[in-house]
């Protein structure tokens, strides 16, 4: 087909399909070779035309060429022009082309970027998504910043599909420029918090590719992932399950730890290491438990499964019924690696089912089953027959099935298995027969009862017509005979005869070795065999020659009279052999066995050297110990570590703090609880005003979880009852958090109830005050520390997860506690002013606190404040507890706070009687978590009323956003009013310039935040803190020496001053020499970590770790100032 005719023909024909087949059939498309240039000219012409149909046709032809691997890169300029084409199919094909060739033609590819940037703003989510897809697939380094920006933006897109695409783009960018890792991790972290099933799989995939080591990112999302799992698409399920397997291995205790002691079989015992180790582990486990009890963390029986561990097992189990083999395999490996022994059995059935699938699936599944059967034989025994081999199976499948059958063989089923093996031996597939013979050998070694039977069977095979079969049998018999040679001299004799016929070198060598080794059992035959061998020595294979030398040496030692000459002869032949191994061997043996004058002491021991009793070989499965690779992985299949494989960690000796997974309204500081619970028992009252006080939350909540299933309705009933009390009394409340767990159980339970109660109250309040939108029955929870990304347009609904127990609990209490909510709300306003007035509060407390409570006491105040604001969160849950929807918070109670530092916004003189002050209330701004809440107080000191007070944006720095307060219509003379507005300062201390309008005039005002107000407290454990700090070293760390002023020497004062200077929360810490604080910047969520280390004498040291160096520097200054004044 000449090029031009093709063109005209297509023009005439017009239809794409009419030409396409022809195109496809055309072998190697003669046209391409004959007139490459011309042909492409045609295409260029078509691409330049203004008819979409022609363009489409051209693009189709080009794509067809790409598909066949033809080079079409010279068309790049012509194609890239069409990137903005209206026709969506043309566009798609152009994208295909672009992605394929952009890397080769980077400069030209840049021409298309602006189109994608425009596409990223398109109202159609499909277009946004595909623009991002292509943009991120173009491997051009120059556009890395653009990609980064696009990904960040898309990660907070309102369409989950676009967010999913953003998740996909992360590994693309990472592979293009690994330097972006840190930023990408931020995006991943953000997306991990996403609650849609659509995103979950993709972001975990990105997590696995970019930062699989950052297991800490999973904590907060663990329960959500578990709960969403069943609704995630299949592919995502696989990735999530595999990741969670690793996660669980680092976070939970080995569920089989106790069983290993009771176990009888050695093989099973060693499942997770050697016996000794296990016992050690156990001891340590016990020790640890003692400690735990001492620490009153929980009253544990020898082993209690972490409820989160249970959650994972429970939520993955239904997926065994998936139609997708990969999902089933993923669940199977999860159970194999994580489940208590008694529960692993459930996976067998599902795996056996997969054997019905395509042969490739069978291949992989059988490999894994083979590994499993070594450790958990009992599991597959009932399915023995499912592994029977059909003659139509491919050889590799047959061999694997054989492996499984061999592993499953035991005393009871060996006879059936051997009968099966008998039929296999007759197969036409010789490789398979050889494998069967080996399998028989292994059965014989493992099961003593059938050894003789097997041996006899194998001996019969020696007369088989197929040489391969015979050879294989010989090799196996050799191994078997080594176990009890004296009984079987007749077999050895029989085999000696075979040397005449058998030609396979390995078999010959085996026979010779046998005769040499057991020559005293066959004293008459052995020399004769040597004679024959000496004759044919020169024609033998190397391994046979070596064995002949061996045989000669052994005979010489036992029967030198008859064989001396023969041996000499053989050694002489060997001396001149071509192979140096053989020459060496001959020389070596001659020195050893033939006594000469010079020979050393060794020859005395020659007999011992050669005729020592050799241990029988152990016939082992090649699948032994393969389970140190995560099952189902590529590495397991290949039995070598594949690139990017993440090791499956060993179980920890001590379970890490489980509270890190708590996602709750009020964040907790668990370790603090632990260390302090004892003392605090006495101090209950002190803590009471802070009914939502975070401390002790996590511990009890955790244990509440563990019993959630049984905790049941009674608990909820009483809980709600007491809830009313609690809220009524306002300051009276919880004995809960402070109790040590070493108290009796009922007390503990009570505590749990209370904890839950607290949660539920908050939940209800949220829903109450909110009542907005979402009927989608989904659970809600909110994090204070990390408010989830929120898209203004996205119906403001958010889902989050919580442990199902929490959810069901709170739901059941929903109705009952509604009444309380109302009460509570009434109560809240009077209470609110007290809260921000923390200084007074603290003082009071301080006076009351008796023991070392002041350690922790100041910290609650900054923590409490956000909690108060979040009281209005709603927690609508359903019993299924699968997913959740958040509602937007309604304005929380606003309290004028005298304690907070106020700044003047408008002086009363400039304002003509209007006096405006503002302060930072430190409450999260409810409409947008990225904004700082600014509380503004208007006081009208003029004689006339002020009307329509409002703020207008004037000149904001780029990126800054403002959420104005609702207009104040009238402010009578002498009155004052308070409003709250939100400002997103973009993590900078630049002032927000605004216009304050009254009905008569406008004032230019500006609000400048102190750096300490640009952050919100973040709650973390000591470990987390250390870890995070470890990652913010170098440039991100600023250290200063401070000479503390007199009044500021004690820890309490330090904490107070630091928290006053910056909106941070205290991080619990074991040593009293250090105070730690953590927070996140409001806009970007960057961590801010502050450490104040005091020393006995000399200055104390202030360390600030923050990714944003400017903030860090400024914060250091501010804190320094606070500490030194």
């Amino acid at each position: 087909m000449s090029a031009s005719s093709a063109f005209s023909e297509e023009k005439g024909g017009g239809g794409s399909s009419s030409v396409e087949p022809e195109f496809g059939h055309d072998p190697a498309s003669g046209g391409i070779f004959s007139s490459d240039y011309k042909r492409h000219d045609d295409l260029k012409e078509m691409l330049d035309s203004n008819k979409d149909s022609l363009k489409l046709e051209a693009m189709k032809r080009i794509v067809a060429m790409i598909a066949r691997g033809k080079n079409t890169s010279d068309l790049f300029p012509a194609v890239v022009k069409n990137v903005a084409c209206k026709n969506i199919e043309v566009k798609k094909l152009v994208y295909v082309y672009l992605v394929r060739y952009a890397e080769e033609q980077q400069d030209l590819a840049l021409l298309s970027i602006s189109t994608f940037q425009r596409g990223l703003k398109d109202p159609n989510q499909l277009i946004r998504a595909s623009a991002l897809r292509v943009l991120s697939s173009i491997r051009v380094t120059i556009i890395v910043p653009i990609m980064m920006l696009a990904i960040k933006e898309a990660a907070s897109d309102m369409s989950p599909y676009v967010r999913k695409t953003a998740a996909h783009a992360i590994p693309k960018l990472y592979s293009l420029d690994p330097e972006q890792k840190d930023q990408l991790i931020e995006v991943i972290e953000k997306l991990l918090a996403d609650k849609t099933t659509l995103v979950a799989g993709s972001v975990v995939m990105a997590f696995e590719e970019v930062c699989p080591e950052r297991i800490d990112l999973i904590h907060k999302n663990y329960r959500k992932l578990c709960n969403l799992l069943i609704d995630v698409e299949e592919w995502g399920q696989v990735v999530i399950i595999n990741m969670l397997t690793r996660y669980a291995r680092t976070q939970f205790l080995n569920p089989n730890i106790n069983e290993s002691l009771l176990e009888e079989g050695g093989a099973e015992k060693t499942f997770y290491g050697s016996d000794d180790e296990d016992e050690e582990e156990d001891d340590e486990e016990e020790d640890k438990e003692k400690k735990e009890e001492a620490a009153a963390l929980a009253k544990r029986k020898p082993y209690v499964m972490d409820p989160d561990h249970r959650l994972l097992l429970r939520n993955t189990k239904p997926l065994l019924q998936s139609r997708n083999a990969a999902v089933v395999m993923a669940v199977a490996q999860l159970y194999f690696h994580l489940a208590p022994k008694a529960e692993v059995g459930v996976i067998a059935k599902a795996l056996v089912r997969l054997l019905r699938s395509h042969s490739e699936v069978q291949y992989v599944v059988l490999q894994n089953v083979a590994t499993m059967t070594i450790k958990r034989r009992g599991m597959f025994e009932p399915y023995l027959k499912s592994f029977y081999i059909r003659s139509t199976d491919p050889t590799q499948i047959k061999v694997l099935k054989l492996e499984v059958l061999t592993n499953l063989a035991n005393e009871t089923n060996i006879s059936t298995i051997l009968r099966e093996f008998q039929t296999y031996i007759k197969s036409m597939d010789k490789d398979f027969v050889a494998a069967t013979i080996q399998a028989i050998g292994r059965c014989a070694t493992n099961i003593g009862e059938v050894r003789d039977t097997c041996l006899n069977g194998l001996v019969q095979l020696l007369s088989n017509r197929d040489e391969l079969v015979v050879a294989e049998s010989v090799v196996v018999i050799k191994k078997l005979l080594q176990m009890q040679p004296e009984k079987h001299s007749d077999i050895i004799k029989h085999m000696a005869k075979l040397t005449d016929n058998i030609q396979v070198p390995m078999a010959r060598a085996s026979i010779l070795w046998l005769i040499g080794e057991y020559c005293e059992h066959v004293p008459k035959i052995a020399p004769d065999v040597l004679r024959k061998m000496a004759k044919s020595f020169t024609n033998e294979e190397d391994i046979v020659k070596l064995q002949i030398i061996n045989l000669a040496a052994k005979l010489y030692l036992t029967n030198s009279k008859q064989t001396k000459l023969l041996t000499q002869y053989v050694l002489n032949l060997a001396k001149y052999d071509q192979n140096y191994d053989i020459r060496d061997r001959a020389r070596f043996i001659r020195q050893l066995i033939v006594p000469t004058d010079k020979c050393g002491a060794l020859s005395k021991y020659a007999k011992k050297l050669f005729l020592a009793l050799k241990p029988a070989p152990v016939l082992e499965s090649p699948f032994k110990d393969r389970d140190h690779f995560q099952l189902g992985s590529l590495s397991h299949l290949l039995n070598t570590k594949a690139g990017g494989y993440q090791e499956l960690p060993d179980w920890p000796q001590d379970a890490p703090d489980p509270s890190v997974r708590n996602v709750e309204v009020k964040e907790s500081v668990p370790e603090w609880t632990k260390c302090s619970s004892r003392e605090k028992r006495k101090e209950k009252k002190v803590e009471k005003p802070f009914y939502s006080d975070s401390e002790g939350e996590s511990g009890p909540t955790e244990s509440a979880d563990s019993e959630s299933d049984s905790a049941s309705s009674s608990a909820s009933a009483s809980a709600s009852a007491s809830a009313s009390e609690q809220s009524a009394s306002g300051s009276e409340s919880d004995e809960s958090g402070e109790r040590s767990d070493s108290e009796e159980e009922d007390e503990e339970e009570e505590k749990k109830r209370k904890t839950k109660k607290k949660e539920s109250i908050k939940a209800v309040q949220q829903s109450e005050s909110e009542q907005s939108s979402d009927e989608e029955v989904r659970k809600v929870n909110r994090k204070v520390s990390k408010p989830p990304p929120r898209m203004a347009s996205e119906s403001e609904s958010e889902e989050d997860e919580d442990s199902p127990s929490d959810s069901s609990q709170s739901e059941s209490e929903d109705s009952e506690s509604e009444a309380e909510v109302k009460k509570k709300r009434k109560i809240t306003p009077p209470k609110a002013p007290a809260k921000p007035a923390k200084k007074e509060d603290k003082k009071e407390k301080k006076e009351m606190s008796l023991l070392d409570l002041d350690d922790f006491e100041p910290t609650p105040s900054p923590q409490v404040t956000p909690v108060g604001a979040f009281l209005s969160n709603s927690l609508v849950t359903d019993l299924e507890g699968l997913s959740l929807t958040d509602t937007v918070l309604s304005p929380a109670t606003i309290s004028p706070s005298s304690a907070l530092k106020s700044y003047e916004l408008l002086h009363r003189i400039t304002g003509e009687g209007l006096w405006v002050e503002y302060c930072f209330s430190r409450q999260p701004f409810i409409h947008d978590p990225h904004m700082v809440a600014v509380q503004i107080q208007f006081t009208n000191s003029a004689a006339v009323e002020a009307k329509s007070l409002r703020l207008e944006e004037a000149k904001l720095q780029s990126g800054m956003r403002v959420k104005e307060f609702p207009e104040i219509e009238v402010l009578p003379a002498g009155e004052s009013a308070t409003v709250v507005m939100g400002i997103d300062f973009c993590d900078s201390t630049q002032a927000a310039n605004l216009q304050l309008c009254t009905h008569t005039r406008k004032f230019f005002v500006s609000i400048q935040p102190p750096v300490g107000e640009l952050m919100i407290p973040s709650f973390m454990t000591e470990n987390e803190f250390k870890k995070e700090q470890g990652q913010l070293m170098g440039m991100n760390e600023i250290t200063e020496k401070v000479k503390l002023v007199e009044r500021c020497q004690n820890e309490h004062a330090i904490v107070q001053r630091v928290t006053a200077a910056a909106n941070l929360s205290r991080v619990p810490c074991g040593s009293d020499k250090e105070c730690r604080f953590a927070g996140r910047t409001v806009t970007s969520g960057s961590l801010v970590l502050v450490t104040v280390a005091t020393k006995e004498d000399g200055p104390c040291q202030l360390t600030v770790n923050c990714e944003k160096m400017v903030i860090g520097t400024m914060l250091v200054k501010d804190i320094l100032l606070a500490l030194t004044q």
Partner: protein, 418 residues
């Protein structure tokens, strides 16, 4: 995850390649070709190969190799399952999955692959969604497109993609609302020389063809669900209800799909519907042998056995056959050494018989072993396990659908050893 895909035809030509990440040169396929050389048949090629820089995971489907290239750790089953899904998608779109068809529709294929994977990670694999994004080619549509200039590519994101039921299209409308369910059971069995059953189990599958408007919510219940030993479901089935009530409750995808597969274990005695009396023997002299086969119905529950075919892979030494069949016809292919006896419908009155002599290659030794017989058969209107659908209810829509259930029993991997 998946870097590249190569489609390879039986003669070893790469006729389609697609890269999702960096372009991987074709030469990587050479490792695969080597492995193929070594392997006996296409089925024996190891599905997973390790090369110095890549890992190759391949499937063999419809005479074609789907070879994917991956660079780092990935669950092999994930890739294999995905490749099969690709093959099924081709089947779904073009009616078959063959080289010609793929070449004919190369652009659609490419668009499909582009949608199915993003950066090597599956994006949209539900046929209902893909069909909204890329419409399958039909003659009518091609003509319309030619005239109107519209394209085969959807401009909107399919709503299913965002919903919790991604398998169903929105806005489905039919004038005739119908739902058909085929209960198909396959008997996997090994019968030994003497006629005793070595192992037998039943694998069942319920294939559905649902053409219902709107968003129907269906419930399918069985008379005897306890029979089912192990099940796997289409994602649409609500597992919790199955667990608690043993009913299948689901919002179906539109069109054809596999609702569930199940397994009836060997513990329940499986009725073997036919028996085979056979004697195959080779003379000691090594010049020939005799073959005598008689088949008859055994436990057929009063139904007729149809489509009865016996396939025998003869030993290599068998040169030719000289047989007579009382019913049906037989063929022997001397190159592949496969004897096929197509009996057709089984008549209980007159048992079909095939007998005659086999001639062996001169000088070849007597074959060691006897070949086993592979049996194919069909029994209409019978589920051999006794499973029965009780009723099908529909909620959520007002119209009355037309419902139908069909039963069929087939021989799966049914082998008689001799």
């Amino acid at each position: 995850m998946i870097h590249s895909l190569f489609l390879i035809n039986p003669s070893g030509d790469v006729f389609l390649e697609k890269h999702w990440r960096r372009v991987v040169g074709r030469s990587v396929c050479d490792y695969f070709f080597e492995a193929r050389e070594r392997a006996g048949g296409p089925e024996d090629v190891p599905p997973v190969l390790q090369t110095p820089h890549h890992y190759l995971i391949s499937i063999y489907r419809g005479g074609l190799f789907f070879l994917s290239v991956i660079q780092a750790e990935a669950p092999p089953l994930f890739v294999i399952e995905f490749l099969h899904r690709v093959a099924e998608m081709f089947q779904d779109y073009f009616g078959e999955c063959s080289e010609t068809v793929i070449k004919d529709n190369v652009v659609t294929v490419y668009e499909l692959l582009e949608e199915m994977l993003d950066n090597g990670f599956p994006l949209a694999t539900e046929s209902n969604i893909l069909k909204e994004m890329i419409r399958p080619p039909t003659i009518l549509r091609t003509m319309v497109n030619t005239l109107t200039g519209t394209s085969n590519v959807g401009e909107k994101l399919p709503t299913g993609q965002l919903s919790t039921i991604p398998w169903r299209r929105s806005g489905v409308k039919y004038t005739n609302n119908e739902a058909y369910f085929d209960v198909i059971e396959e008997i996997d069995a090994i019968v030994d020389k003497s006629g005793t059953t070595v192992c037998a189990e039943i694998q069942g599958v319920i294939e559905a063809c649902v053409k219902l408007s709107g968003m129907p919510d269906l419930t399918l219940s069985f008379m005897n669900p306890r029979l089912l030993d192990d099940v796997s479901f289409h994602p649409c089935v609500r597992f919790k209800r199955w667990e608690s009530e043993r009913v299948l409750s689901f919002i179906p995808p539109d069109g054809n799909f596999t609702l569930m597969t199940y397994h009836v274990s060997a513990q329940n005695l499986v009725a073997i519907p036919v028996y085979v009396k056979q004697s195959i023997s080779f003379f000691e002299s090594g010049s020939g042998g005799r073959l005598d086969l008689t088949v008859g119905p055994k436990q057929t529950m009063g139904k007729t056995v149809e489509g009865f075919v016996i396939t025998i892979h003869m030993p290599k030494a068998v040169l030719s056959t000289n047989l007579t069949a009382t019913q049906g016809s037989y063929t022997y292919d001397p190159t592949t050494k496969v004897l096929v006896w197509d009996i057709g419908r089984l008549n209980p009155q007159k048992l079909p018989n095939l007998r005659g002599s086999l001639s062996l290659q001169a000088g070849a030794p007597k074959p060691e072993d006897n070949p086993s017989l592979n049996i194919a058969l069909k029994i209409q209107q019978l589920a051999i396990s006794g499973l029965k659908v009780n009723r099908l209810d529909m909620y959520g829509e007002k119209y009355k659908p037309f419902k139908g259930v069909k039963y069929l029993t087939k021989a799966g991997k049914f082998q008689v050893r001799t």
